[in-house]
Every structure is written in structure tokens, then in C-alpha cells.
């Protein structure tokens, strides 16, 4: 064991240059995930502190002010529910990257006499170490971002720092959650490597995803329309639960839609770059969805919150509500866009690292670097644009029962904001350009 540990350390140091980029990307991802999660929880914390439950609880008669305060807390819960899944997905993606490209090292460790259990332990320890470094960096980023967050004004006044600073135990709980996500998803990736210790990726025709996913999503949609819409004053937890179910349903149907689109795209693709992009999408729709799904969700959240209008505001608090909905939606979108862009960047980087030999072979055979970049950009742009269009359409349809006529100005603003967020995520592909350049260097 000592020899194996020593070898692990030597390989770590020797392979440092080779693994620097994925290592940095993994740490950055953990940091972004932690900071985003802390900001979400801090926001929720602030709204709850600001709007304490009235002495008699939510039962019985509520003053207008208390009812509105309760609405703010409900909305904060909804936003947090929407953000948690993409944030945790980012953590899982980062963990996969942290242990990607370890095949050779694993093989060397086995040859040195390490058992499979020891190798697993060392690799997970490394993923956990990266997660801890990333999460602690994330705490620093969160603290540094607080003054900026404190400038946001809700309910007619900006946040106070003391509203936003989380108690130590909550901060540590968030750090621990990120590390746990890293270790769990790292272990699930390693299980696949352990089955094939040589790391030979024998890609076969991808399995079709089941149509059942579509039925699940339709059922969730029906539940929303049938359960929530008729309720006059739905309970906060009911909304959160049904919304959570909706998000899971969207995550179930998303990869299926991506797969179908990828297959159709592959059949119709006129150029090499489009063909490659479509085949990659159809081959691994779940991973494509992981990259773009978060943004789809963000568009849905922003759509719901920014298009909801306050009818005939009478009190000052009600007037604030209209502005606050817009601000809240924007904050949610910004956070999810940052998280989505990081996810996309990391997924793309991991793919280049996984396929660097094929990239080199393509370059040797005379494929220009530009063609490789174009194929990658398309690989993100196609599902991204589709996701945004579908999500926006989904929102517009679902909002119909709530509003008889949507404000066209708000709709345009919603669509433009969504497009800008999409552009930011697309730009994250640029982060792995240097990896493509390295992988496709012929000499």
C-alpha cells in the first residue's frame, strides 16, 4: 500500500502538466457550484428572516403584509428548487472530470500492486480533495460576492449583509453537500472504469431512450394544470413539490427530445461538422442535456416569474412586487447561466480529453482546427437553441391559464434575455479551445 501511495503521488506530480487543465476546470466547477448554492441559500435565508411567520402561523387571517411576505418566501423557495438541480449537476459533472483520463494511472497503480479498492480510494480521495479546494474557494467567492448581492433591492429596500451571511453550520453543510456529491458521482463513474480496467471505450450503437420519459413529462404537465391551476391559494409546499416533480419530469423528457433531435439531425446533416455534432448529440443525449438542461430550466423560471403580472397594485408593497419579480427572475437567470456555462465548458473539455487521439488522427488526416471548433460549437448550439425555443414555448403555453392576455413588451424582454443567456453558455465552449489545439497538434 505504501508503494502504491508513493506511486500515486509521483504520478500525480509527473502527470501534473497533463492534468492541469482538467484539474483546474474541476476546481473551478466545484467553486462555482458552491458559490451559487451559497448565494441561493443566503437569499432564501434573507427572505425568511425578513418575513417571519406571523405569531398565529399561516392559518387564520393574515394581514396583507404578512400574506405578501409569505409570497416572497414561497417565490424564494421556488427559485431555489429550480437552481439546486443544475447546481448539483455541475458538481457531478466536475467530479466526472476530476477522475477522467485516469485510466493509465489506474493501470500503473494496479501493476504496482494496488488492489482495486485501494485504487478506488485514492482516486476518490483525489476527487474529494479537488471538491474541498473548490468548495472552499466557492465560500470565498460567495463572501466576496455578498456586497454585490446586498445591492439588490427587494420589498423596497436593499439586503443587509447580516441578512445574507449564513451561519457557519449552514455554510459548512453546503461545503459538505458539494463534497458528498463529488464523491458519490465520482464513485459511480469509477464503477464503470473498474469494469473495464483497460479503459477501452468500445462504443456501440447507443440504446434508445424509452418513450416512457415522454409519458412521465405529460403526466407532470397534466398534474400542474389539473392540481395547481384550480387551487385559489395553493400551499407553499404543494407548489414546491409539484414544481420539483415538474423539474424532474423535464429532466426525464429532455434527454429523449435531445436524442430524437440528434437522430433527425444526423440523418439530414449536410456537412461534416453538422454530422459529427448531431451524431455526438444522439450518442450521448444525457450528457448533452446535462449541459443545456440547466438553461432550459432557467428559461422556464424566468418565464414564469417575469411574465406573471400583479393586477391592480393598491399598496406600495404590491407595487414593489411587480419589480421584485423581474429582479428575482433576472438573478435566477444570471446564477443558472453561470452554472450552465460552467457545466457546458466542463462537459466539452472532458469530451476533448476523452477523444484526443481521434482529434489528433483527424488533424493528421488534414482536418483543419477550424472544422473541429465548428463541430464543437454546433454540438452545443443545436441542442441549446432547441432547448431555449422549447422552454420558452412551454412557458408561454403554461402561462395561458394564468393570464388572459400577456404583455407583449414583457414577452419580448423575456425572449431577448433567454437568447442572451444562451449566447453566454455557447461562449463557454471557447474555454476548451486550447485543449482542442493541444489535442490536434500534429507535430
Amino acid at each position: 500500500m505504501r508503494a502504491a501511495t508513493e506511486l500515486w503521488w509521483r504520478l500525480r506530480r509527473a502527470g501534473a502538466a497533463d492534468n492541469r487543465v482538467p484539474g483546474i476546470l474541476a476546481v473551478v466547477s466545484f467553486a462555482v457550484a458552491t458559490a451559487a448554492l451559497l448565494v441561493c441559500v443566503a437569499g432564501l435565508h434573507a427572505f425568511e428572516a425578513r418575513n417571519p411567520l406571523p405569531p398565529g402561523g399561516l392559518e387564520g387571517h393574515l394581514s396583507d403584509e404578512a400574506a405578501l411576505g409569505n409570497l416572497y418566501v414561497t417565490l424564494a423557495w421556488i427559485a431555489t428548487t429550480c437552481m439546486v438541480i443544475p447546481i448539483l449537476t455541475l458538481g457531478a459533472v466536475a467530479a466526472r472530470l476530476a477522475i477522467a483520463r485516469r485510466d493509465q494511472r489506474l493501470a500503473a497503480l494496479r501493476l504496482a500492486g494496488a488492489t482495486s479498492g485501494q485504487v478506488t480510494l485514492m482516486t476518490l480521495a483525489e476527487a474529494a480533495a479537488q471538491a474541498v479546494v473548490g468548495a472552499l474557494t466557492g465560500v470565498v467567492v460567495y463572501l466576496a460576492a455578498l456586497p454585490l448581492v446586498a445591492r439588490l433591492s427587494f420589498q423596497g429596500r436593499p439586503f443587509e449583509l447580516r441578512e445574507l451571511v449564513l451561519p457557519l453550520w449552514q455554510t459548512l453543510a453546503v461545503v459538505a453537500a458539494v463534497v458528498v456529491v463529488a464523491v458519490v458521482s465520482g464513485a459511480s463513474s469509477l464503477a464503470r472504469v473498474a469494469i473495464s480496467p483497460l479503459g477501452v471505450a468500445a462504443r456501440t450503437s447507443p440504446k434508445r431512450l424509452s418513450v416512457l420519459r415522454v409519458l412521465v413529462a405529460l403526466a407532470a404537465g397534466a398534474a400542474w394544470v389539473l392540481v395547481i391551476t384550480p387551487m385559489k391559494e395553493p400551499q407553499r409546499m404543494t407548489i414546491v413539490l409539484v414544481l420539483g416533480a415538474m423539474i424532474l419530469a423535464v429532466n426525464a423528457v429532455g434527454p429523449w427530445v435531445v436524442m430524437v433531435a440528434g437522430r433527425v439531425g444526423a440523418r439530414l446533416a449536410p456537412t461534416a461538422a453538422t454530422l459529427l455534432a448531431a451524431r455526438r448529440i444522439a450518442d450521448d443525449p444525457k450528457s448533452t442535456w446535462r449541459a443545456v438542461g440547466a438553461l432550459g430550466l432557467a428559461v422556464v423560471v424566468v418565464g414564469f416569474t417575469s411574465l406573471a403580472q400583479v393586477e391592480d397594485p393598491t399598496t406600495p408593497l404590491e407595487r414593489y412586487l411587480a419589480d421584485d419579480l423581474g429582479t428575482g427572475a433576472l438573478v435566477t437567470l444570471v446564477i443558472i447561466t453561470i452554472v450552465g456555462a460552467t457545466s457546458t465548458g466542463v462537459v466539452q473539455a472532458a469530451r476533448v480529453l476523452d477523444q484526443r487521439e481521434q482529434y489528433r488522427a483527424l488533424a493528421l488526416a488534414g482536418t483543419s482546427e477550424r472544422s473541429l471548433h465548428r463541430a464543437r460549437a454546433l454540438e452545443v448550439a443545436l441542442p441549446l437553441s432547441m432547448t431555449i425555443v422549447l422552454s420558452a414555448g412551454f412557458v408561454l403555453v403554461l402561462m395561458l391559464p394564468f393570464t388572459s392576455a400577456l404583455d407583449s413588451g414583457l414577452v419580448v424582454r423575456f425572449l431577448v434575455t433567454s437568447a442572451v443567456a444562451g449566447a453566454v453558455v455557447l461562449a463557454s465552449v471557447l474555454a476548451s479551445r486550447s485543449l482542442v489545439r493541444t489535442a490536434s497538434r500534429v507535430a
Partner: protein, 296 residues
């Protein structure tokens, strides 16, 4: 007429009457030991600078600028690969044979000397020009197919044409004509992960030849295969190259692989130590001067 017609020899390609090209297709289930050196195919007569690949006094030194240079990887190599001919480059590990292949293929720029292809010096071309050259004039076969795992076999073969701007329908049609002669009928839609090593390598051969390159470079094309499969792959590689008129440069450790080629050069310490079969006392059937290999 199909894109690939085994009965047709393209204009200008040398006749290859000797046994490798006329040998019956080899089935993987049939034992095969390769063609004897004494029956190596004959070569065409006179050199032609407008169609041959000519290397003159190639020198290649690795190392950072400013740092003291180590021994050169190539120490002055002269070589002519005639149009339509096949040449095996042999030598121990570290002898410089792969460097030679990379310099000839325009992957590496030599420190000194010339590589003339159709009258132009590849060594003086820009990166961009060499990329286009590799895409349009050269084909590559690597030790392990290096096929893209997410593309079915037929799309892997059609890819070079599509990258060169050929319409997808035409690229796919041209790719499809190569499957039957390579014994790959029915495997068009398989992914690389669903093919055997020999099948994947034959798909790689189809990909290397689909754009009708002037020269095919193969770096240990059978390095990952057993002897029987290896003979089968070399049979297809040499035959298809001959029928499309492409020259073939094969870097190999394996004498059995080298025997499929018109000529052999042996590289040692960055220099050509021997041309043809001198080193193992076999005399090729063709005129020796056809491959000019000078040990300096």
C-alpha cells in the same frame, strides 16, 4: 461504373502482376503466411518527378531552440517513392522511421532538405497548405483505426470527402463502393466499437483511400493484429492502393508485412542503412534503381 472497380487499373498506374495483388482474397479463417520475398511485385521503369514523392537530403533534429541539439532523428535521407508503388520502411524502435513518415507526409517540417510532391517542396509549405495537402493528396492508416466512435463505419469513410466539401449524398455513395471490395458488405451501419480489429482497420483503409489520394501513409497498420488478420489487411491495403493508383508508404516492424511491398528501406540511426531486401539476402524481382535509397 462503380467508384472502385477491381478489374480496372487506372491510367498511369504500374501493372502489378506478382502474387500479392493476384492472390485470392484471404479469409480470416484461412491461415496465411504472407508472400515470399522472392515473389515481391515488380516495379515500373522510369522515375517521374511530376508524380513521384521525392525526398532529398532530409535532416530532422528535435530539441528546443537554444538548447544543444541531440543526435539528429534523420541524418540526411534521400528517397524516391514512385507513383503507384509501395515501400516498406523498417527499422528498430527509435531509428527514425516514424519521423521519416511524418516528414514525408507533411506532418513534420524537416530541419533541412526537401520533400518534393508533384514538383512542389512540402517542406516550404505553410501549415495551412500542408493541412490541405494531407486532406486532399494523402491518406493515412494508423496502428489502431482511429475511427470516430460515434460515427457508423460508412460515415467514418465518407468523412474525408465531406470535409473536403463533397456533398453528403455523393460522399456516402462513393464510400459505399469501397465496402464490398474490402469484404465489409453489411457492416456499413456498425459503429467502430462493434467491429473486429481487422474490420476496423479495413474501414480505416477505405477512409484513407476514399478521396483517391496520391500517397497513402500507413504507420504500423497491422501492429495491433494477429498474423492472419494482418495478412488480410495488407492484401486489401496493397490491392486497393494499386487499383486507385496510390503510392503506399508502410512503416512496419514486421517482415511479413514488408513483403507485400514493392521495395523495402531499412532505417538505422536516422539514416537509410539498406535498400530493398539487401539486409536479408533476398533480391527483389524488380530493378533496384526504381527506389533510390542512398545510405550517406
Amino acid at each position: 461504373m462503380s467508384y472502385y472497380d477491381p478489374a480496372r487499373t487506372p491510367p498511369g498506374a504500374p501493372e502489378r502482376p506478382a502474387s500479392p495483388t493476384t492472390a485470392p482474397p484471404v479469409s480470416p479463417t484461412v491461415g496465411f503466411t504472407g508472400v515470399q520475398a522472392s515473389s515481391r511485385p515488380a516495379r515500373a521503369a522510369s522515375p517521374d518527378p511530376t508524380r513521384d514523392l521525392i525526398a532529398r537530403d532530409l535532416v530532422m533534429t528535435y530539441g528546443r531552440s537554444g538548447a544543444p541539439a541531440g543526435p539528429p532523428a534523420l541524418g540526411g535521407v534521400d528517397l524516391t517513392i514512385r507513383a503507384g508503388e509501395s515501400l516498406a520502411v523498417m527499422g528498430p524502435s527509435g531509428s527514425g522511421k516514424t519521423t521519416l513518415l511524418h516528414v514525408l507526409a507533411g506532418i513534420l517540417r524537416p530541419t533541412g532538405g526537401q520533400v518534393l510532391w508533384r514538383g512542389r517542396d512540402i517542406a516550404r509549405m505553410s501549415d495551412r497548405e500542408r493541412t490541405v495537402l494531407r486532406r486532399e493528396d494523402f491518406g493515412f492508416v494508423f496502428q489502431q483505426g482511429m475511427l470516430l466512435p460515434e460515427l457508423p463505419a460508412i460515415e467514418n469513410v465518407a468523412l474525408p470527402l465531406m470535409l473536403g466539401g463533397v456533398r453528403r449524398s455523393e460522399a456516402t455513395a462513393r464510400a459505399a463502393t469501397l465496402f464490398h471490395p474490402l469484404g465489409l458488405s453489411g457492416l456499413e451501419k456498425r459503429r467502430p466499437g462493434e467491429l473486429s480489429g481487422g474490420q476496423a482497420q479495413r474501414v480505416a483503409i477505405a477512409r484513407a483511400l476514399v478521396a483517391r489520394p496520391g500517397v497513402v501513409f500507413a504507420d504500423e497498420p497491422t501492429g495491433a493484429l494477429d498474423q492472419t488478420t494482418s495478412a488480410e489487411v495488407m492484401h486489401h491495403l496493397t490491392q486497393l492502393a494499386a487499383h486507385t493508383g496510390a503510392s503506399l508508404v508502410v512503416v512496419t516492424h514486421d517482415e511479413n508485412v514488408a513483403r507485400w511491398c514493392h521495395g523495402v528501406v531499412r532505417v538505422r540511426d536516422g539514416r537509410i542503412a539498406a535498400a530493398d531486401a539487401d539486409a536479408d539476402d533476398h533480391v527483389a524481382a524488380g530493378p533496384v534503381q526504381a527506389v533510390t535509397a542512398v545510405a550517406r
